[in-house]
Subunit: 412 residues, 2 copies
Amino acid sequence: MPPGEAFAAVARGCSPIARTEIVPLRTALGRVLASDVAASETLPAFARSTMDGYAVRAADTHGASEQSPAYLRLVDDVPTAVVPRRPIGPREAARIHTGAMIPPGADAVVMVEDTNLHPVPVGDAEVEILAAAAPGENVLTVGEDIRAGACAVPAGRRLRAADLGGFAALGITRVQVAAQPRVAILSTGDEVVPASAAPGPAQVRDVNATTIAAIVERAGGVAVAHGIAADSTLMLERTARAALDDADALVISAGSSVSVRDLTAEAIGALGAPGVLVHGIAIKPGKPTVLARCGGKPVVGLPGNPASALVVAWRIVRPLVRVLAGERIDDDGLGDERELAAVLDVAVPSRPGREDYVPCTLARDGAGHLRATPVFGASNLIFTLVRADALIAIPFDRSGVAAGETVRVIVP
Amino acid sequence: MPPGEAFAAVARGCSPIARTEIVPLRTALGRVLASDVAASETLPAFARSTMDGYAVRAADTHGASEQSPAYLRLVDDVPTAVVPRRPIGPREAARIHTGAMIPPGADAVVMVEDTNLHPVPVGDAEVEILAAAAPGENVLTVGEDIRAGACAVPAGRRLRAADLGGFAALGITRVQVAAQPRVAILSTGDEVVPASAAPGPAQVRDVNATTIAAIVERAGGVAVAHGIAADSTLMLERTARAALDDADALVISAGSSVSVRDLTAEAIGALGAPGVLVHGIAIKPGKPTVLARCGGKPVVGLPGNPASALVVAWRIVRPLVRVLAGERIDDDGLGDERELAAVLDVAVPSRPGREDYVPCTLARDGAGHLRATPVFGASNLIFTLVRADALIAIPFDRSGVAAGETVRVIVP
């Protein structure tokens, strides 16, 4: 099954988690907004100047130019943070600073570069206006940024710097966000020992628990470590059930051999209806992936090979975490801010009907464009990925990509 | 001055901070490795099978095919986590599982799909080999992943999932990383009140402290809030000096009016040698930016306008934080994993000799390519950025970008 369809099959039946938290702005970055937040007030609340210059009635500057200036009487000086003392009448102007309140009567600001000031010995100074101003010129009008009652930030938005800035502008200093999805991570394989252990003969350390946890956390989830389960259906099922009970999703890295994978699929199938939905996806590396939904929660059985596990965690687990957090994403799970586009240096063959992920290095050329150079070789080794900068994503329907083509690269 | 040159001018004289921390793998994601980490052992430590199948001497399968199979005597069964009981002699084979140790004598694995097993009533079974195996086929040899003493992960690497996986494989569960750079953030402007306050007439809330802090944190730094300084050179200089003393860098959002900006530049100039290096950069929005280095620490004076402050924080402050953390980045501060490429829907004009950042929405077309549609209008409003998905980055030397061109977009 194509990875996009496989992802959609699992994601469709999974509801975003209902738990929410109220957090201050300073910890809200990257969290997913739980419900629409409406603007509590209108911004700007008062008309403001966007320039240093002179507040005027636009009509008084009609036809003004360097050859034929308009002359206005300077009647006030309006700094920021101050309410103007008086309105602007016909043929009057007030000096005004960027951000200051536009006096009543005025409807435009002539920037200081288009004026000359003529002090006079007695009485008000005269401002020479060298350019006509249209009504509203250099003025932020009331409500131009946002109006009270309008949706300020929509539910499902993963909050960015600008969103937090919008909240600050409105005086909203705490927001309700989705709780971070809890993803239980369980490894299997008789030959696998914890990263902290010294492997015996014929044993290896668990790599996948670490990489999957990193991808879960980068996606905004909380990784809940459940160690390494014994290779028996009964024990695995028991451990997996306990892990899933305590979490919103379960990821099992399923040992390397076919027998262990079958055992994992069997244990997953027993966790709840509808059980296993997909057995094998058209992706390289990572084909022997099991996708299930058990009691409304997604369960993913990843291949034991570290590179395969990492690629499928990126392609499937990462968007699942985003869906669980209530983020709005594309149906096929693609589309992510941690993707780049790069021009391919040499051709990369592929097989249509399969998404291929090929390790590559990245470099910028003279024109500033990223160039991707595939790293061929043993793609099932963790240090092949450590040495790579990124992975070239070759789409499902392509039989390879030519040198010079622009490709999508992911940076797990 | 072009933004790239301006960044380089400040970054050149700033040393990465010397403070380091030792952290467990589970909190090391996104931190910058403080020094090269060498592999403490060789991986794999033993030759392993990458397939379920039969471990053989490759020479014994020479010329084997479906038409003319080779027949080998089955002498052992090697599951994972077990040391093989005996070596493989000529014309012998051992059943082997993915990840299991290759028995001495064997140098290849024939995958199970290329074999038939013929049980015999008495004695050893016979394996029919239907395809020749080359020496090393389906075998991970000792040291193929990494050799003891080789550099596993280099200093200056911002740690990714794969890097943490590499450490786990080696049994390295704690790593030394650079301390997170501390960036003091200070706002100015008589009209500015904290986000938590109710603005009086002619006052507005501080947006920039929030957005700058978000960009600093996203870049791996710690934002240290210093509130809003009074608009007097003496007070501002005093507050700024205290803020910088306690941090690795200082960012002042410099109020909107020219007089306040001049005052900020003056205060920055007094903080230490060499002082202000750049006054004004060729970027839109964000031209009135001040860049300084005071006593070896970078100091940035951002425009007061929220959109300008956010763009320049992204373009200048973000790479400065990365440099302070010891990350290796390009001299001009460009190049980032939070950049996408998108095809432009409609032409966007620009002026050569200036980097332009234009708010846009993003959507994927049928072929999966991102399309960027510029959001024209008041680009100096915070909610223009809230409503946008990203910003189109128009390079310094371009006089606009045509519809259909691929452009770089940033996602602050």
